[in-house]
C-alpha cells in the first residue's frame, strides 16, 4: 500500500510505512532551489561594495584640490562682518588663493582678516584703497565685494573694468541708477557678476524650486505669500575705543563719523534700512518662486522705536506686492521689524493645493509642506523622494474633564518635510557656484540682470512708504536700460 505523500514528496505523518526514496531529479532541483538566493546576495553585496568604493573615492577627491584644478586668485574688498562670514566659507572651498584684503579699517577688521588668512598659509597683501589694490595686484582673477551698499556700484564697476570677475553682496546698490550701471558694466566687460542672494544656491531652495514647484507643482496655484524677518532690539554697533578711525579717513570714504561707519545700514544714502538689508533676500525668493515680477507695491512703515537721528530709515515695514504670475494674480506680503524677534524669519508660500513654509535656517522652518485635503495625493512625490513621508499631526481635542473630543476642532494637516540638508555654512554653496562659473563649469545662479529685478522691487518699497500710495511697476522697469548719457 503506497502511502500518500504530500505535495512536496514529504513522507506522511504516520511515519509507520515509508517507501525507500531514491534521490531523483525533483529532489535535486528542490534541494538546490535556494542556492540562487546566495547568488543574489553575492550580486547585491558586490554592488554595495562598488558604491562604497565610488563614494570613498569621491570624498578623497573632493577634499584635496586635484592637480589640474585651476587655482583662482581672489581678493576680498570689505572685511567687515559680512566679509568675514564670506571668508569663513571661502576657506572651506578648495583651489582658492587669497592675494589681497582691502578695507579702510586697517587697525581692526583688515588686520583681523589678514591674520585669519595667514593662519591658512595665504599671504594676502593689505590695502586701504581699492584702486591701489587693482593697480598693484597683477595676478587677480576675482574680487569678492562686501563693502557698504552705497559703495557697491563703484567698486563693482571698477573691478569689472579691471578685468576681474566679481561676487558682490546684496543689495546691488542704494539707487536704481547704481544697479543699472553695474549691469551695464558687466555686459560691456563680459566678466561674471554674481549678486549675493545666497538662497539661490541653497540646495533646499533649489530642490523646492526645481522639484516641488516646477516639476511636481505640488502647491497648485500660489495665491498668497507671507514672509517676515523679525529681530529683537539691539544696541547700535560700536567699536573698541582704541581702534577708532581718524575722522579724516572716515570722511574720505564717505562717512560722517564712526557711528555712521559702523551703522551705515540705517543711514539714507548709505544703506536702505531693514527692508533692504533683510527683505531683499526674501523678496528675491518671492519673484523666483512665483516666476513673475511685481506689478505694483503698497507699503507702510515708520521709525517707531529708534532714535531718528541715528536711525534714518524705517525700523518697521509692511509691504504688499501684486504679482501677475503665469497661473494668475497673487499677493506677496512682507513684514520686517527690529524691535521683537518673534518667529524669526521665514517665507510661507500658500497655494490652493498646498503650503510651503521655508527659511534659510536649517533648524527653524527648514522646509515644511502641507497638502490641502482637497488636493490630489502626494504619494508619487513621496515615493520619488521630493518630500518626506507625512508625519501625522495629532487630532487636537479640546476636552474638559470628560474626555470627549470637540469635533469642531479641526485636524491639523499632515506635515511633510523637505528631505535636503545643507551641511556647509550658509554662504558656501553660492560662493562655490561663483567659483565653478569662473572655471567654466557652471552657470551663475544669481547673475546681475536677474538680481536687478529684485533690486527694482525692493528699492521701491521705501519710496512707496513715503508716497503713501500704491506705486505701479511697468514690465520695462525690470529690464536695465542702457542709459548712455549716464555711463559709469
Amino acid at each position: 500500500m503506497a502511502t500518500d505523500h504530500d505535495d512536496k514528496g514529504h513522507p506522511n505523518a504516520d511515519g509507520a510505512s515509508r517507501e525507500p526514496r531514491k534521490l531523483d531529479r525533483r529532489d535535486v532541483l528542490k534541494g538546490l532551489s535556494t542556492v540562487p538566493a546566495l547568488g543574489l546576495f553575492g550580486y547585491a553585496w558586490k554592488k554595495q561594495r562598488e558604491y562604497q568604493q565610488a563614494k570613498a573615492e569621491e570624498v578623497a577627491a573632493s577634499t584635496q584640490a586635484p592637480a589640474d584644478l585651476q587655482v583662482i586668485n581672489v581678493a576680498l574688498l570689505g572685511a567687515g562682518a559680512q566679509g568675514q562670514v564670506l571668508t569663513d566659507s571661502m576657506l572651506r572651498i578648495t583651489g582658492l588663493r587669497f592675494r589681497a584684503v582691502c578695507d579702510i579699517w586697517t587697525e581692526y577688521n583688515q588686520k583681523r582678516v589678514v591674520n585669519s588668512l595667514k593662519r591658512f598659509k595665504h599671504e594676502p597683501n593689505a590695502y586701504e584703497d581699492y584702486r591701489e589694490m587693482l593697480d598693484k595686484e597683477k595676478e587677480l582673477d576675482a574680487v569678492i565685494i562686501a563693502t557698504p551698499d552705497f559703495w557697491h556700484a563703484q567698486h563693482t564697476i571698477d573691478c569689472l573694468k579691471a578685468g576681474k570677475h566679481v561676487y558682490c553682496e546684496k543689495e546691488m546698490s542704494t539707487t536704481l541708477e547704481g544697479a543699472r550701471s553695474m549691469v551695464a558694466a558687466q555686459r560691456e566687460t563680459n566678466k561674471l557678476l554674481q549678486i549675493g542672494h545666497q538662497r539661490r544656491s541653497n540646495p533646499r531652495y533649489l530642490h523646492c524650486y526645481n522639484k516641488i514647484l516646477q516639476e511636481a507643482k505640488m502647491l497648485g496655484r500660489i495665491v498668497t505669500v507671507y514672509g517676515q524677518w523679525n529681530r529683537g532690539v539691539t544696541p547700535d554697533l560700536g567699536a573698541p575705543e582704541r581702534y577708532v578711525i581718524p575722522d579724516a579717513r572716515l570722511k574720505q570714504y564717505g562717512f560722517k563719523d564712526m557711528h555712521q561707519f559702523r551703522n551705515w545700514r540705517w543711514y539714507r544714502g548709505k544703506g536702505g534700512g531693514p527692508i533692504v538689508d533683510l527683505g531683499s533676500h526674501q523678496i528675491d525668493i518671492y519673484g523666483w518662486f512665483l516666476g513673475a515680477n511685481p506689478s505694483g507695491v503698497m507699503a507702510s512703515g515708520g521709525n517707531l522705536y529708534y532714535d531718528p537721528k541715528t536711525h534714518e530709515w524705517y525700523d518697521t515695514v509692511l509691504a504688499v506686492f501684486d504679482y501677475d504670475t503665469p497661473l494668475g494674480p497673487a499677493k506677496g506680503y512682507y513684514s520686517t521689524q527690529t524691535t521683537n524677534g518673534s518667529q524669526g524669519y521665514f517665507e510661507n508660500f500658500m497655494g490652493d493645493q498646498g503650503t510651503l513654509l521655508i527659511s534659510e535656517s536649517e533648524v527653524n522652518y527648514a522646509g515644511q509642506l502641507y497638502r490641502d485635503p482637497n488636493a490630489p495625493a502626494w504619494d508619487e512625490w513621496v515615493q520619488k523622494g521630493y518630500v518626506s513621508a507625512p508625519k501625522e499631526q495629532e487630532t487636537k481635542a479640546k476636552s474638559e474633564s470628560t474626555a470627549i473630543a470637540d469635533v469642531r476642532e479641526s485636524v491639523a494637516p499632515d506635515q511633510h518635510t523637505v528631505p535636503v540638508t545643507l551641511r556647509d555654512p550658509y554662504h558656501q554653496p553660492h560662493l562655490q557656484n561663483f567659483f565653478d562659473a569662473v572655471r567654466g563649469k557652471a552657470k551663475l545662479n544669481c547673475p546681475a540682470d536677474e538680481a536687478y529685478q529684485t533690486a527694482v522691487a525692493v528699492l521701491k518699497v521705501n519710496e512707496a512708504i513715503e508716497a503713501r500710495t500704491r506705486l505701479a511697476f511697468k514690465p520695462e522697469d525690470f529690464k536695465p536700460r542702457m542709459n548712455t548719457d549716464q555711463h559709469g
Partner: protein, 169 residues
C-alpha cells in the same frame, strides 16, 4: 510527537523566512568581517541588565574580547550561509538562536533599564531581536531545509545509503 502537515504555501512561506533570515545573518557577518575596525566592545561595554557585569568583563579582557569578536563575525556568516542554502538547517537555526539570545540579553529593553546607544523604535521587552529569535524557532521546528534546501539532497544521499528494507505495518 506528531508533526503537523503543512500546506504547500505555508512551507513556501517558511522557506522564504529562512532565506531572508539567512541573508540578514550573512550580511551582518560579512559586513563585520570586511569592516576595518569592527568590534563588539562598544555594544558590550554599554550592556545593561542582569548580565551587564559579565558582558563588561568580557569587553575589558582583550583576549576574551578577541575571541568574542571572531566567534561573532565568523559565526554570523556561517549561520547565514547555512540558512540560505538550507544546509544543516537545524544546527544553523540553533546557532542563530544562540547569537540572538546573547545580543538580546546584552541590552534587554526592560522597563527601568536604558540604553546608552541610541536605538530606533520604541520597545517594551519585545524588540526586533526577540522577534527574529522566535522566527528562527519556527525554522528550527519545521523542516524547510529538507523541503527546499541542500539538506534535501544530503538527506536523500544518506537515506539512499543507509536505508534497509522498508518497514511495513
Amino acid at each position: 510527537m506528531e508533526e503537523a502537515k503543512l500546506s504547500r504555501s505555508a512551507m513556501i512561506a517558511i522557506v522564504l523566512l529562512r532565506i531572508v533570515i539567512g541573508w540578514h545573518f550573512l550580511y551582518e557577518g560579512i559586513a563585520k568581517l570586511t569592516s576595518p575596525s569592527w568590534s563588539a566592545v562598544g555594544y558590550m561595554r554599554a550592556s545593561r541588565g542582569p548580565f551587564a557585569a559579565l558582558f563588561k568583563s568580557i569587553a575589558n579582557n582583550p583576549q576574551m574580547l578577541d575571541n568574542a569578536n571572531l566567534i561573532t563575525m565568523y559565526g554570523l556568516t556561517i549561520v547565514g550561509v547555512l540558512l540560505m542554502l538550507g544546509l544543516l538547517t537545524r544546527l544553523a537555526a540553533i546557532g542563530g538562536i544562540a547569537f540572538i539570545l546573547l545580543f538580546y540579553l546584552c541590552n534587554p529593553p526592560f522597563v527601568g533599564y536604558f540604553y546608552t546607544i541610541p536605538t530606533e523604535g520604541t520597545y517594551l521587552i519585545v524588540n526586533k531581536n526577540l522577534v527574529e529569535l522566535c522566527a528562527l524557532a519556527v525554522i528550527l521546528l519545521t523542516r524547510s531545509g529538507l523541503v527546499a534546501g541542500l539538506d534535501r539532497i544530503v538527506h536523500g544521499l544518506l537515506a539512499g545509503r543507509t536505508r534497509l528494507a522498508p518497514l511495513r505495518v
